[in-house]
Amino acid sequence: MLDSTDKPLVSVRDLKMHFPIYAGLLRRRVGEVKAVDGVSFDVMEGETLGLVGESGCGKSTCGRAVLRLYDITSGQIKIDGREIGSTPQAALRSMRPTMQMVFQDPQASLNPRMTVENIIKEPLDEHTTLSDAEKREKVGELMDAVGLNRKFAKRYPHAFSGGQRQRIGIARALALNPKFIVCDEPIAALDVSIQAQVVNLLEDLQEQFGLTYLFISHDLSMVRHIATRVAVMYLGKVVELAPREGLYADPLHPYTKALLSAVPEPDPSLARKSERIILKGDVPSPSNPPEGCNFCTRCPSVMDICKRVEPDYREVQPGRFTACHLYNETNDTAEATAGPEAKQSVNKEKTQ
């Protein structure tokens, strides 16, 4: 893996993406789905930032919003030194080669009526002035890079397996030598033995071309493998962001703890021994999030303050960010301890 530097390539500040809800005879605006509600993070050059969370938490919307596939509600997005948060879509076109996307479902994201060659060539047609021969050569190189046989260039997507289709999607994303690629659940639709192939390919390409990834996934074990740092989202907000080792060894936010403990462990003796934190209930609706902390309805260490005041998202340890009242003020005592102790110390302070 390329050594990641401390220079952010992508910098997102207070990103909000609200989708309006219209209802009634006059299609009046009655509310909004706060899919992404104030998210801030940096992606350093050459690193892979993992973005994890359950379905509906807004992680895909966040990935798409960062690439400005939506017109965002508010916030700043800086990619490679350029602010694109409020750039009109037409002006964004010239920026597109730097930032690309690999989609979740390779079946749906490849045009079934185009040959593989045409699919990979399309970005070249759109953004470069290469001659046909040069384009064909480039397509050949890309197919080599992602491990597809050049002979299959004239075939259609249906003739390929799921893993191969995902390789086609990756080749298309690479065509314009991007710096930053958003991978939106690139392996979710693949079988386990094929997932490993695609993940290894993504890592090889990162090293070869010096790519920076935002890797969106719900598979925590795969993210542990590929990501340098990991951001955990819950109901439109990042609740914790930390370097990989720290997050998996010592999660701070109660939601991260529960999420990690829910991952099935492929080892029967471990799986039966470890105590699971079973969260009660379901994720609240993003159109009507609870008052205070978004997680307060399911949190095992919930306190009074959580139901009233929304916790700040702040750096509680060097390089580790979280949004939780357990780590407020009592920073020194609550630091790195599990929920109950931290909760007690907070309670103590309150009674004093």
């Binding site: 359950e54 079988d191 490993a196 074990s221 829910a262 099935p264 492929p266 379901d282």
Partner: protein, 334 residues
Amino acid sequence: MPDGAMPVLDVRDLKTVFRTRGGEVHAVNDVSFSLKAGELLGVVGESGSGKSVTMMSLLGLLPSPPADVRHGTVTFEGQDLLHVSPETLRSVRGGKIGFVFQDPMTSLNPVYPVGFQIMEPLRKHMGLNKREATVRAQELLELVGIPDAKRRLDDYPHQFSGGMRQRVMIAIALACDPKVLIADEPTTALDVTIQAQILELMKELRDKLGMAVIWITHDLGVIAGIADRVMVMYAGQVVEHAPVHELFSHPQHPYTRALLKTIPTITGKRAARLTIIEGQPPIMTSPPNACPFRDRCDVAFDRCARENPPRYDLGDGHDAACFYDARTGGPRDA
């Protein structure tokens, strides 16, 4: 687990073929297994390995044509389910054998309230009247942990979240006190935190009701946490079958070993690079007369291309269909 107990369900040499325009597809090839009361059998395999088709074959759920259950026996309560009348089979399905499907959205009827759908098997199979069935349906919803059960009986599937819908599916499957519950990837469409809820629920219900469960999944992590025995399928065949601890600590078939290596974990040492299984699963258009895994296998030798290995008994309820003996590191005797 009661050892040596009579199996509640016994499947021998089940073979299912699909007739397609491109020729026959051999989806299930001589699959045999048995299930004891109160036992949880995990079935693992990639998509297309025949896990779901096996279970659907034995309940006669596959449309024919194109499906054709060629041969085999499925013994359940002294009857061969492959050779009983459709009426008898219908009384078994949803009655003594419950089925939970993968996708709770497509397997619940969107135009009927869930209460009606839970009451349907109760009235059909157990002959309860409407009032009795309502009471029982409410009990079932409470059993699977849906709060405010009485009121929610009148709700429609779209008013429930994914995890809740899957609970409703389980409630329907449990309605008639089944002896066997077949769960086909019941948690695949769900998030990990909801999956953890459902897994806990299943373990609890299994202990409480004493039914046997067949749990189909592609997630070895889920299997490790819940199963008593595991059956690994590849290309329509059972390639390895063992008690769960044995399978994870001493996998014998090269496919199982490779599969266990490909999955990253959230604990333990992080591998610098994931191990991969090269190649693709075979296209099963010809009858299996060679080992289906040989092209992707790292220990394959000439015999693997000539014969399809039988399931060798390795003792202690462990068997593997491979000519290579991982214990001695050499070929097995003929």
